[in-house]
Symmetry: C2
Subunit: 217 residues, 2 copies
């Protein structure tokens, strides 16, 4: 169900657009942070949030005390963007120099979820960020649940842009006496985890769990 | 000049707020991609852009053919957010599990720059992403200049949130028979460059330049 609309049709560099839902899911499932928009004092803000995909919706949470989250829960139109950076494109010209990226943009209105559905959503977000952790950690108590607002944005109207491949240099630059003799290519960029760092209040005899050691980006 | 206003005062987790301009500059100088907001058909969009800081302004560019960029250049209020992810916070409770991040949010209106000022801005953006490249690559020709719109957003009204340190677990969880015996800590996350990949049309005898080898995240 790729829902390209007048609002999501990609006009700039349309050759980089994808309408493949599997491509979209791969991007959403690979990201850790999304930027969500909401109007505030006549300025549209872009707010970073942790999120997770669950089937045909994207879930994210915040504080029940947050006015911006309340605005979203009341049906303010929003955009949720997930951008992954995959590399630097080193072209012969400054103009063609750019980045490898994957960027997903969802439009719609979010709605607040509650009860067991919210608990499952919180599990989904935790498991997306920290796979394996939910079963072991203390799950939210009533006070924490009351302080948390969980929103669901349906995956209905979206666009996706994927940029990869070699630099797209002008043929004249590739054969140019000067610029044809400078290096051109791509420098890949990826997120990597470092060694887990124990909390100061965590006893030394507790080792890093296998599920944490298994985390890879 | 930290300009905290009603619009940029941080209400959620205010202990993570910084009003130190040097902190702000460090975040802006470390990021590669910003998300910029602009209204489109009554929905505020968050659009990823390459950017660079130049003194007291943030520069970014797009296509002169882009309606969204034209809207911004006409003075539409905008927000530019740069978010860096530094790690996963593995707390005893799901509620306190979170991320280490640094997030800068600038509000204002952007203006289009031109002439030598724009050329310097393009150089600044290229050098921010690809340090050392500007002098070697082909600089923009008149046709490319005509296709490029470069915007400047002044660093005037902004907020900054920095999240680091150990998990902030409830004391009862730290001493709990069960949850006090699970590992807690932080798993650092960082962007790293992989080995440069030569473009298919780049001759084998051209080696990777020293300035490219020096790139580190």
């Amino acid at each position: 169900m790729s829902e390209t609309t007048e609002r999501t049709r990609i006009r700039r560099l349309p050759e980089k657009a994808s309408t493949d839902r599997d491509d979209l899911d791969r991007v959403l499932d690979a990201g850790l942070v999304a930027h969500v928009t909401v109007m505030n004092h006549d300025v549209p803000l872009a707010i970073p949030v942790a999120y997770a995909r669950r089937g045909d919706e994207v879930l994210f949470h915040g504080s029940t005390g947050s006015r911006l989250f309340r605005t979203l829960s009341e049906g303010a139109p929003t955009c949720l963007t997930v951008t992954l950076l995959d590399g630097l494109v080193v072209a012969r010209s400054a103009f063609e120099s750019s980045m490898h990226y994957r960027s997903a943009m969802l439009l719609g209105t979010a709605s607040r979820i509650s009860g067991d559905d919210e608990l499952d959503a919180l599990r989904t977000i935790t498991e997306h960020l920290l796979p394996g952790r939910w079963q072991e950690c203390r799950q939210p108590n009533p006070k924490e649940r009351a302080a948390t607002m969980t929103l669901s944005l349906p995956i209905e109207e979206w666009s996706l842009k994927l940029s990869d491949g070699d630099p797209d240099d002008e043929p004249a630059d590739v054969t140019d006496e000067t610029y044809g003799r400078i290096w051109a290519g791509v420098v890949p960029l990826r997120e990597e985890f470092g060694a887990p760092r124990r909390s100061a209040d965590c006893p030394d005899d507790i080792s890093v769990p296998e599920y944490v050691r298994a985390w890879r980006r």
